[in-house]
Symmetry: C2
Subunit: 194 residues, 2 copies
Amino acid sequence: MAVVTAPKQDRSRATRQRLLEAAVACLADVGWAGSTVAVVAERAGVSRGAAQHHFPTREDLFTAAVEYVAEERSQALRALPTDDREQTVAALVGLFTGPLFRAALQLWVAAAHEDQLRDRVAELEARVGRESHRIAVELLGADESRPGVRETVQGLLDMARGLGLATLLTDDTARRDRVVAQWARLIDETLTAD
Amino acid sequence: MAVVTAPKQDRSRATRQRLLEAAVACLADVGWAGSTVAVVAERAGVSRGAAQHHFPTREDLFTAAVEYVAEERSQALRALPTDDREQTVAALVGLFTGPLFRAALQLWVAAAHEDQLRDRVAELEARVGRESHRIAVELLGADESRPGVRETVQGLLDMARGLGLATLLTDDTARRDRVVAQWARLIDETLTAD
């Protein structure tokens, strides 16, 4: 039995993963209004029935997808070296550009006026936000027992989110790099001051 | 003739203004997908024909609406006293909370995957962004000839945008106030250092 079951579980896990990745890409490309379970199933090359077996509702699929990719990004971030604060700030800002942030933003903005989404997305964002904060504190070597340090790190993540939004419609890379360099300097001074 | 024309122009201007205000409220409440000229006309108590006389397309109406309210906000901001940097930072952050930002965000996010909107919204956002930057420099008394000052102010506006996004689904006021207080301190130090 084990010989038969193991590959079946693997296939099921692979299907689930294909659906999650297709869902994030779909959300980033066409927004919430055009993102349905059927569209994602087709994009992933999975039958609609199989997709609905994994994710009974549209909300299940898309919140799971944003969470899955956020976790992948967190893991990549945790593996970063911590000896260069400017590089760390740039990597944290990088969390808020690219397809994951575009997808999360579509979900977030739809949740502002869709009751079925609102509570789930708010809870998801709070969880992902706490995790990003934890990782930022660790990578920056920030001592949150010192006054102002916690708010300095929070403001940095808010700035990163704002930079991500600025890059949604136009390529903002050159400006972003200059802002990151300057804010990295401000943050480095604040975190190393005694 | 002039006696007849003047009130007619006033009425026309008042109708236009009602449409613009209804459009911003509509966008903030129901998002881009539910925001049409017909819905806004009804909300404003204006006939659909009159609405289409003022704004031939949906894109015309909603980009004009976001621009109109952004200009109103800029004017209010320019009237602020400039003697207290923490108050100035709080007021700048205030630009990115409330119905105008919620409306602009809906338009912005829809523009990411709607070709008819993309160029117009990108151009509008660039214009509004430059104006916000100009006002911020003036209110903060920032000397942009000094290295890093321009990027400090840009990063502050990015942070304000990120804080606005954080407040979309949950009331984030208490955290935001603490972040604003700390970053007002950091920015004040940076702008006054020699």
